[in-house]
Symmetry: none
Subunit: 157 residues, 2 copies
DNA sequence: GATATTATGACCTTCTTTGACCTTAATTAA
DNA sequence: TTAATTAAGGTCAAAGAAGGTCATAATATC
């Protein structure tokens, strides 16, 4: 984890883990100071690492008393899965978006690490690009199929 | 073993042997510098010498903090997987042949039932046929990648 | 000599970092 | 009670820092 963005991400996830309410509130300026970086670097980290796919919501407020609130969402297993599928996947899915979603499923322990690695493998642009007209469409389709199969009771004991 | 590519290969395998995690992380630029060669020479070595068939997986990341990660696959005793990849799978694979192979891997407890279901899903003709010119070629490629990934030590503890 | 392998360089894509400038909210002064 | 000031956070473009690709040149190999 050499770079700044990764370190900030790590730090935020660490304090999120400690917060049992499931969210943290802090100031952008404080973070920027803490990591000796431009304040906009914080926004960069938030928009690239704390996305909906990855299971986070970020709220904020400007002006005096302004703040950032980073909320970690849980996936309760009550069929909201299907909604997630439809909303998040759509008709097309880039490698990056697919990987984000897989990481999320891994964090939620819906996938094992081995499964995550296998699935990431088959979604790799490198493997698909020259063989398929539209890899994004295939990924969306496969992702839905995979999620459906994961939900099957008969294979989850 | 006089040429550059061979020396780079040798060097990488040496440091891989020293790494008890089963992988090494390093920078392409550093390697190119180290061997006084064009950076693309490193890619040449990676694509010709560190393939799945030969028992390696390579991951990478661009941009600041970018890196190459070369993973040495945990070799099964007789190099069973390598043979499987080269001989059994070849360049094309029908749904039927793929399913047979998956069943066998399941029987041998190389795959879990869930994994088998997931993988069969993505190999289904129904999902691939209308989107891809040659599903058999894609299956062969994906199957090799999957086999490689399940040999990774870092995800099998 | 023909073919296969290896090496290079020009150009491309992706990811990160910074800084200048903008918007919004709270506080304070007139 | 406005109006000005201050204190936040937001946006965007440009520069920097990696790795990737591909055509071509150079070398081995047969």
């Amino acid at each position: 984890m050499g770079n700044l963005a990764d370190r900030i991400e790590e730090y935020l996830k660490m304090i999120l883990d400690d917060a049992q309410e499931g969210y943290v509130v802090l100031q952008r300026g404080f973070l920027a100071e803490f990591f000796s970086c431009a304040p906009s670097q914080i926004n960069y980290v938030l928009t690239t690492r704390f996305t909906a796919e990855k299971g986070y919501v970020v709220e904020s407020r400007r002006g005096g008393g302004g703040y950032l609130r980073i909320i970690k969402l849980g996936l309760d297993p009550e069929g909201k899965f299907q909604r997630l599928m439809a909303e998040l996947i759509g008709e097309e899915m880039s490698q990056t978006r697919a990987y984000n979603l897989i990481d999320r499923l891994l964090e939620e322990e819906i996938l094992t690490e081995r499964e995550a690695v296998i699935i990431k493998g088959i979604f790799a642009e490198r493997l698909l690009a020259d063989l398929i007209p539209n890899p994004n469409e295939l990924r969306a389709r496969l992702m839905k199929d995979i999620l459906a199969n994961i939900c099957r009771d008969d294979v989850n004991n």
